[in-house]
Symmetry: C2
Subunit: 356 residues, 2 copies
């Protein structure tokens, strides 16, 4: 079996979780990339049903999620919750008359036999999959791996060390609202310390080195996702990858310090040129002109900014250190999901290089 979407004709497209931060971005990406939409269905909770969206394809009202309706689509993008995905994704995709599901949750990412796809890297894993549920990676992985993959192809990754600077949007619209309103309450003098409900602690003027739940090895699940997903997407089963994942008071772009040790000697100038030619990457690396990756530039952009590229002092000739920043809602979620659908319209073996 293989998974594909018909090319050259408009498709029936569903978005489950359309009213969420990622759902809204999916609609925007479909519009901006001119995705071939014959019919757009927006699914949401009972609470959000009736909410109207003005789209390129006319006004569309959110309807409460309905499995039978979803199955009638060609493709459904799902961004609700891990529990929702576990309950519905396979049922939506089941059988010849099921739809292709592109799932933003972690529910199926690491499951044997399910594809975990960044189209610029492993489009074929989705096309050749036996399962019509294709997983989108964790946002932190999706952003960092855009730079890691070209480096791996040329130099061979031996070790990867990451430390992240993650935006509030990782916790959805509510996370962004909590940060913004909290910062407002503190700066207006209404309170000394902001309140918190979404995050484990108040985020304004603070940071929280705790995203998702702690594992037995004392890494968080968010951190382990980077390890697990990097290995699966790049198909390097035992690649040593470690990560410290930290929430900081930014709104929608994640940043990452990455240090790699490579099999072959690596040179910063060469690596910079290589990254310049790599899909989905925007090399923004002119320190003298104060140009380097930052949420201020990277937010709302499709490409992941890569900068501060330099020979790493610890690993020497085989080490590179750099800084990446990418829009968490786009490259980290909505854009990657839509690119997966685009890749599924192409034949197996065709390299996927979207013009961003």
């Amino acid at each position: 079996m293989a998974v594909s979407l018909p090319a050259g004709k408009p498709l029936k497209v569903g978005v489950a979780g359309a009213n969420g931060a990622v759902g809204k971005e999916i609609i925007g990406v479909l519009e901006k990339r001119g995705f071939p939409v014959a019919e757009l269905k927006l699914f949401g909770s009972a609470r959000s049903a009736g909410t109207k969206f003005q789209t390129r394809w006319g006004e569309v009202a959110i309807e409460e999620f309905n499995l039978e309706e979803a199955r009638k689509m060609d493709v459904v993008f799902v961004s609700v919750s891990g529990d929702f995905s576990l309950e519905y994704c396979e049922k939506m995709a089941e059988g010849a008359d099921g739809c292709v599901v592109i799932d933003n949750s972690s529910a199926f990412r690491m499951k044997e036999g399910f594809a975990l796809c960044v189209p610029e890297i492993n489009a074929d894993s989705a096309k050749k999959s036996n399962k019509k549920v294709i997983s989108n990676p964790n946002c932190t992985t999706a952003i960092g791996i855009m730079a890691l993959w070209p480096l791996h192809q040329k130099y061979g990754l031996k070790k990867v060390l990451m430390s992240t600077y993650q935006a509030a949007s990782g916790a959805g619209q509510e996370g962004m609202d909590e940060l913004f309103e909290g910062a407002k309450a503190v700066t207006s003098g209404a309170t000394k310390v902001a309140s918190n409900k979404i995050f484990a602690h108040p985020l304004p003027f603070n940071l929280i080195p705790h995203i998702d739940v702690f594992q037995d090895n004392l890494y968080t699940k968010e951190e382990m996702k980077v390890t697990w997903e990097c290995r699966k997407i790049m198909d390097i089963p035992n690649l040593p990858v470690s990560c410290t994942a930290v929430r900081i008071p930014t709104l929608r772009a994640h940043a990452e310090t990455i240090v790699v040790e490579t099999e072959k000697p690596i040179n910063a100038d060469e690596a910079r040129e290589l990254l310049r030619k790599s899909p989905g990457v925007f090399v923004y690396d002119e320190p003298a002109n104060k140009k380097y990756p930052m949420p201020l530039n990277a937010s709302t952009k499709y490409a992941v900014e890569v900068g501060r590229i330099r020979q790493n002092l610890v690993f020497g000739d085989n080490g590179l250190e750099f800084f990446v920043c990418g829009d968490q809602l786009l490259r980290g979620a909505a854009l990657n999901a839509v690119l997966i659908a685009e890749a599924l319209m192409e034949p197996v073996g065709k390299a996927f290089t979207p013009v961003l």
Copy 2:
């Protein structure tokens, strides 16, 4: 020659830069630690002269800096600028009638023959110095090294990789004000993007991977200070240390992800117990209870919080990963400076273990 301050009698103490963020904290630390002060002189710019401080030793007005007055002190804490330090520190200390100078700038830190001191680590370097100008380390180094040193003594450091989350206070009171007022302007709706004068870019809801000037190797000077100063303070001349230094929108506590590879196998539980007994360190590491280092807890505290202690996945049995957070103005500046003065009251060879 050796440098010392008389023990057991009150001293004439000067603070140059008394009106700055660090200067004010120095006064506070002198008060809280009951530093033996016979006379307190506060030096500042012509502009701040006349500003009155209520201190434990009565009301003191800032006077314009005057070299001859400064030389009459037993010890002067200097936190003005590198240029000021270059111009005045040696002149203040010169000759038998000069004073001891504890300098917060980077002017003398790496100069041959000058001591760079974290009293819990290398108090003797200051006591045995031929120069009466003793340097306080860079704040990022001062915070991280509190955890690195005990680990080095027991396990031997082989590699150190750091990524920082640095607060606005690193740029002084003006930096904190710019962040706070900028966040207020954005959240009140007055502007979409905050303005910036102190920082290279707007800091609210952003981060800036650029602190101090870029070097030829494309690391910033702030990053290289961590490498250079860690080597000098711990006396490990060739220790491989790399750092990415990032300004984030927090107010006064710096945080750092640190990964170390050690000569001897290291165990997270053992390392945690070791750190628990280490001076200047507060192990705050109960993930299940959401306790880990954060600016929210670490600000205004003397001890550096260390948490998220775990076996590092990349270096395995010889690797440890952890997260530290310390008050940039205190451990990173004012506290360390006052502790140096306290150490100078003790004989050479006496281990310095302040009760924090």
